[in-house]
Symmetry: C2
Subunit: 230 residues, 2 copies
C-alpha cells in the first residue's frame, strides 16, 4: 500500500489578522459565512494577503485540488493500493476515502473545503473526507510504515529501482510530497524520512511529483501489461 501525504499544503481558512478586508467581507456576506470561515485563496485575495507572513506561497487550494483529482483517478487508487492524505500548514490532516468523487469545478471544490473546515467532515451524513488536528510526524507514526520517502529537488538523484527495494505490495510505504508552490517544507521532513529523493534538478509542480511517484509504484507493483518491459 502506498500512503501519499501532501505535506505542508497551503490550504487554510482566512487568518483573523486580515479578516477586516472589505472585499473579503462582501464575499463572506454573499456566501453567508464569516470572513474567517472562507478558504484563503491567493487568486482572489492577493492584495489583503500581502500582510501575511509567507504571503507569496500561501492560499493555494488549487494545488490540493489538482493533486487529489489526479491521484484518485490513477489505476493504483482504483485497484485499492493508494491512500492519499492532505496535511496543511497549520497541522491539520484531511483523510480522503479512496472512492471520493472530488468536484472538478474549482468553485465547487473550494466550497467543499469551506464546509470541511467548518464541520470537520463532508458530506455531513456519511463523511468521505474528514479533518483533524494532527502533525505530519503524528500521522506518519500512525501509518507506521516500513519505509518513509520524501521527494524534493534537493534530494539525491537515486535509481528508481532502489525506491521500493525489498518491499512488497502489502508493505506500507509512506511518501511525502510538498503541497506548496515553492520554498521548503515547514515540517521536519528530513528527520521523518529514510531517504530524500530527487526526480529532476528543477522544482516540479506538486502534481507532477504525485503523478510520477504513483506511476513509479504502479510500474513496480501492478500487473497490467502496459507497465511491463518499459
Amino acid at each position: 500500500m502506498l500512503h501519499l501525504i501532501l505535506a505542508d499544503s497551503e490550504l487554510e481558512t482566512v487568518p483573523e489578522e486580515i479578516s477586516s478586508d472589505k472585499a473579503m467581507k462582501r464575499k463572506a456576506q454573499r456566501r453567508g459565512r464569516r470572513v474567517t470561515e472562507l478558504i484563503l485563496d491567493s487568486n482572489y485575495y492577493h492584495k489583503p494577503m500581502r500582510k501575511l507572513e509567507d504571503s507569496d506561497r500561501r492560499g493555494r487550494p488549487d494545488i490540493v485540488q489538482i493533486c487529489i483529482l489526479t491521484a484518485l483517478d490513477s489505476p493504483l487508487n482504483r485497484d485499492g493500493y493508494l491512500r492519499f492524505y492532505v496535511h496543511t500548514r497549520h497541522d491539520k490532516v484531511i483523510d480522503i476515502d479512496p472512492e471520493t468523487r472530488i468536484p472538478r469545478a474549482y468553485n465547487r471544490f473550494v466550497g467543499l473545503m469551506e464546509q470541511l473546515f467548518l464541520t470537520g467532515g463532508v458530506p455531513p451524513d456519511d463523511p468521505l473526507m474528514t479533518l483533524c488536528d494532527e502533525s505530519l510526524e503524528t500521522r506518519v507514526e500512525k501509518i507506521s510504515p516500513e519505509k518513509v520517502l520524501a521527494f524534493s529537488k534537493d534530494g539525491k538523484e537515486d535509481s528508481g529501482g532502489r525506491l521500493f527495494n525489498s518491499l512488497t505490495l502489502e508493505d506500507d510505504v509512506c511518501v511525502i510530497i510538498g503541497g506548496f508552490p515553492h520554498g521548503d517544507f515547514l515540517s521536519d521532513v528530513k528527520g521523518l524520512s529514510d531517504d530524500l529523493v530527487s526526480i529532476y534538478p528543477e522544482t516540479l509542480d506538486a502534481v507532477t511529483v504525485v503523478n510520477h511517484v504513483v506511476q513509479f509504484y504502479e510500474k513496480k507493483f501492478l500487473d497490467y501489461p502496459i507497465f511491463s518491459d518499459l
Copy 2:
C-alpha cells in the same frame, strides 16, 4: 520527440442555437462580449446546454486546462522533447509553445481561451498559443510521425515495452488521447493510428492518460537516474 494530441476536446464557444439564454446574456454583458464569444462551460451553463446535441459531454475547458498544466510541467517537456496540441470538437487545433505558462486559476484560463478563440493568438503581440481550423487527420499528416498510437479503454492491453519499440528520441511519435469526459472519439482515430492501446480496463480521465503516456516515454528515453531499473 513525443507529439501528444488531445483529440476531439470539448472546448468551444457557445453555439448560436442556445445564445438567447438570459443568464448567459447577462454574463456576456458583464464581460463585454457577445454570448457566442463565451467559452461553453457545463459547470455554469448546464441548463441551457440541455438543448444541445451531445450535451452530456460538451463544455469541458477544465479537462483541457488540467491536461496542458500537467503535460507542460513534466521533465519531458522541460527537456524539450514534448509537443502538446489541443484538437477540438469543431476541428480547430491549438498550438502551444512548450514554454507557455498556463494560468492555474480556472477563471483566468477560461478568459485566455475566450481571447484565443476571438483573436486566434495569445498573448496578442508575440503569441505562445495559436488557433487554426484543422482536422485531426491534417495535423497528424503535418507532423508526419514514424508511428501513431491512440489510447482508449477499447484498445489492446499491450506490453509497455512495445509502445516505442525500435524508435529513438529523435523520431517523431504521435500519441492521440481523447479530450472528452466519456464516450468515443468523433474523429476517425482508429483509421489514423498504427495501434490502439489500453492502459487499464476502465475509462480513465484524460489527464491520467496524458500523465501515463508522458511518463512511459520518459522512462524509455530520458536519462535521469529515477527512470532507471524500475
